[in-house]
């Protein structure tokens, strides 16, 4: 049966409402793919033009932090998925615990990322402000680091938005103000969270792995 609290008046039933919400989110995610795609295209073109500078620059990235952060985000996708599963079964405690874990893992990621930026500054790898590269082709290595900061920076902004959204939904579920079992809120929130994870899944081999075997 439809829960009047969960069903907005423009929809016939909850199924239709859920489908509309999920479709809307997927269309938004498609625009996000193109948003990051522009930067990735820039990355691909310059890597094609200056492969030696690219490998030398990528070798100087903090691969331990990058790998740890990838593991953290992959794990946060599991806890986000658990929140959606728990929501379908109406298990409020499990939903709030899973959302809390998800937001915490996201915060850990941002903390490590901030420390990584600090190390990059220390190693003079910040283009425009403090850049001194002694390996091959510093001029074009600088382009790699421009793209590194734009890609990871924009990704961090997305993750900050996602953490905020998770905390808002956590608050609403905890205080009983969201019909989380009937509405698509958790599912749609999860889709956005997983997109942020998927973007990072591609950033990891593009930023941290090139040139390691040389």
């Amino acid at each position: 049966m439809s829960d009047p609290q969960a069903l907005a008046e423009q929809f016939d039933d909850l199924g239709q409402q859920r489908h509309a919400a999920e479709l809307g989110m997927w269309i938004f995610l498609a625009t996000e793919a193109l948003f990051f795609g522009g930067l990735l295209l820039g990355y691909a073109v310059y890597r094609h033009l200056y492969p030696e500078a690219w490998f030398a620059a990528a070798r100087e990235t903090e691969i331990l932090i990058g790998t740890a952060n990838t593991a953290i985000l992959l794990t946060s996708s599991l806890t986000m998925w658990l929140a959606v599963r728990a929501g379908e079964e109406g298990r409020r405690d499990a939903v709030t615990l899973a959302l809390g874990l998800t937001a915490t893992l996201g915060a850990f990621f941002l903390g490590l990322k901030a420390y990584e930026y600090y190390l990059d500054w220390d190693n003079s790898l910040v283009p425009g402000l403090r850049f001194a590269f002694e390996k091959a082709d510093p001029e074009h290595a600088e382009i790699f680091y421009y793209l590194y900061f734009f890609l990871t920076g924009v990704h961090a902004v997305h993750l900050t938005v996602a953490i905020t959204a998770v905390l808002v939904v956590l608050f609403l579920v905890r205080t009983g103000r969201l019909a989380y079992q009937q509405s698509a809120t958790l599912t749609v929130l999860g889709l956005y969270w997983h997109l942020v994870d998927v973007v990072w899944i591609f950033l990891y081999p593009l930023i941290y792995l090139p040139g390691r075997s040389q």
Partner: protein, 99 residues
């Protein structure tokens, strides 16, 4: 562990997907140090695509989604492919021809 108890009966199949994702991460990290020439890029991007596919199919529920959602999910990638194809049609063909 209270956390384990709170999620009783919810883990499957997510935990298996997570274990696979972590194994793939370890694999791609290790293989990055093995000299394979151009195949280093092929392998790292291949494993990345596989990981993204696992997240999309299981965590983002595309495996159970209807055709409309799947089309919307693929639409962005189709236009991205057009963007890359036309740009590289330019860059890869520069310097051809006489002189």
């Amino acid at each position: 562990m209270r956390a384990i108890g709170a999620f009783h009966g919810l883990w499957w199949p997510g935990i298996l997907v997570w274990v696979t994702l972590m194994a793939l991460l370890g694999l791609t990290w290790g293989l990055a140090y093995v000299p394979m020439g151009v195949f280093n890029t092929v392998v790292s991007m291949g494993i990345g695509t596989l990981k993204a596919l696992l997240v999309a199919l299981f965590f983002m529920h595309l495996k159970e989604s209807g055709p409309v959602l799947r089309l919307a999910a693929c639409a962005g990638l189709v236009w991205l492919a057009v963007l890359f194809a036309f740009t590289f049609a330019d860059y890869l063909s520069r310097g051809w021809g006489p002189g």
